[in-house]
Symmetry: C2
Subunit: 321 residues, 2 copies
């Protein structure tokens, strides 16, 4: 996995966020401490925390004001990963075994709940009730997205609506909340907070689309998991949707109705999506979201923080794992 | 199930809390709305919300100050029930089918997460960061308790330590947090808040012990589920622990090592615990917790609210279902 290019202006502060997270996941219950550390030290890029810090730097930056929000966004992200893996019954994430596989589903359920609550305690230390509202509403939105699968591959318009709704809920909402929280901690105006939120939303959409593309174009070594995982799970994503809408791709619509795809069927669909250039069209959509996000930044004066946020957009778009 | 005798001074306000809860569980995701309503309207007594309101009445009472905490405590309680039923794979609660049985485990997982987040949004509207900290720490404690089962029936001292720890975490901590939040919303001093917390903790311990006793002495009609459920789940509770420590009860210690009890073994253990009067000793312990709780109330001037809280202690101890 490519490491996130950490902007020099937040290297130390991002380490302080990391140290705080590790310090906070201690628990009287040994299982919770072990499983929380497992997920929170499993090679995440801390991209959400970095964006929260940098959005605070667009305003009046003080680490003490924003560290709780930056720690909370990563705790919430970790909680959603543990519960998401449990629902999908995924065996591995980033090459490491998942919590419910290493321990059991009860542990995974409780560790997720624990991390959500830990994030809330963390936010109670940053006494801006807006920050708690941003993150809590994001969690509600994530839950709604989790229960709103993409049901069709075609017709294109319907599939796009469903895919964008789900991706907006499951991924972009938390990026949005983290950026709003950062801007709020930086003393931004209501308008600046909304703008930071739209920036975060766009980056989140781009980030997830690239993730979904990599599941079609990546290999096991860079992904930390085999390609085609979404297809095996029955998850319909953007490369498949675009491929099916291209001339000669109509037969791919049947994937939506398949109860289960065999290994050879998965390979066949992967090959067809590549042949029909679905990944390229999906990437073009990610680029559009990235451009929209970058446009939001223009309202802020040029600064090291703004440049670093622009670099993160590029990172989200260009990563290969 | 006996209805909670609603103190006249909070009848209207408890209805306002109830209305607020029902209004808030709406969701864009139909599944979440349906499953949230299912659990939040399934015959709960709202005892936690009532205690939160009444603790606020020990101070300077304003419904607008405390309604968010009172709604939040019930939302958190509902969330923990859904996740607890999922871990235990329980089919029914209060006679109604559980969320993961009626829908599926993914829905139950997400609905619990959603209700936790909804509670946090609710608390963000009562901008006292202490209240968020009380409830979030309680949720962390509940998770720790969920993963700390009672492992032994004997020796008595060890079994009591494990049982009291687990019960303190899983049940009493949320009663404690609700009472602290109520007292804080009522403008109480730090000392009064701690005192209200100890009151809530004692009521929670008494409440859970009575619950555990009813699982040995109750019948399906009043319980809404068959008796002996804890034994079938392999859960060791206080009546069994005391029975095993009485002369002629040593053979019951083996229950801790049984992989699975057959229906006839469950009936046998139930009969033995009754014969050895384990339930009576457990109830005496519940009475002690109730007395300790009532003692904490003496520091407050006599009032309708104080009398109502005393009546709730009695209700917790005397209920039969």
């Amino acid at each position: 996995m490519n490491p996130l290019p950490i902007p020099t202006n937040i290297v130390d502060d991002l380490q302080a966020v990391d140290a705080r997270i590790i310090e906070r996941v201690r628990s009287r219950a040994a299982l919770i401490a072990a499983a929380s550390s497992h997920i929170l030290t499993s090679g995440g890029k801390r991209i959400r925390a970095a964006m929260t810090l940098l959005c605070a730097q667009l305003g009046q930056y003080q680490l003490a004001q924003v560290i709780h929000a930056a720690a909370a966004v990563e705790m919430i992200h970790a909680a959603t990963l543990v519960h998401d893996d449990l629902i999908d019954d995924a065996e591995r994430r980033r090459g490491k075994v998942t919590v419910h596989t290493r321990w059991d589903s009860g542990v995974a359920l409780m560790v997720g709940d624990y991390l959500f609550a830990l994030a809330a305690v963390e936010m109670s230390l940053a006494p801006d009730p807006r920050i708690i509202a941003f993150f809590s509403q994001a969690v509600m939105t994530i839950c709604e997205g989790e229960l709103s699968p993409v049901m069709v591959v075609a017709p294109l318009e319907q599939a796009l609506v469903e895919y964008r709704y789900k991706t907006g809920c499951k991924t972009a909402a938390l990026f949005e909340a983290g950026c709003k929280a950062g801007m709020a901690a930086g003393g931004g105006t209501a308008e600046q907070i909304e703008r930071a939120g739209r920036f975060g939303y766009g980056v989140g959409m781009a980030f997830q689309i690239v993730d979904d593309v990599l599941d079609y174009t990546g290999d096991e070594q860079t992904l930390g998991k085999p390609a085609g995982g979404d297809l095996r799970q029955g998850t319909i994503t953007l490369p498949l949707i675009y491929a099916a809408a291209n001339p000669g791709g109509a037969h791919l619509a049947a994937v939506a109705d398949a109860e289960h795809l065999s290994a050879s069927q998965v390979d066949e669909v992967l090959a067809e999506v590549r042949r029909l250039r679905g990944a390229e069209q999906a990437l073009a959509e990610a680029e559009r979201y990235g451009r929209e996000a970058t446009t939001e930044l223009r309202a802020f004066a040029p600064s090291q923080a703004r440049a670093a946020l622009e670099a993160i957009v590029r990172f989200a778009l260009d990563r290969r794992g």
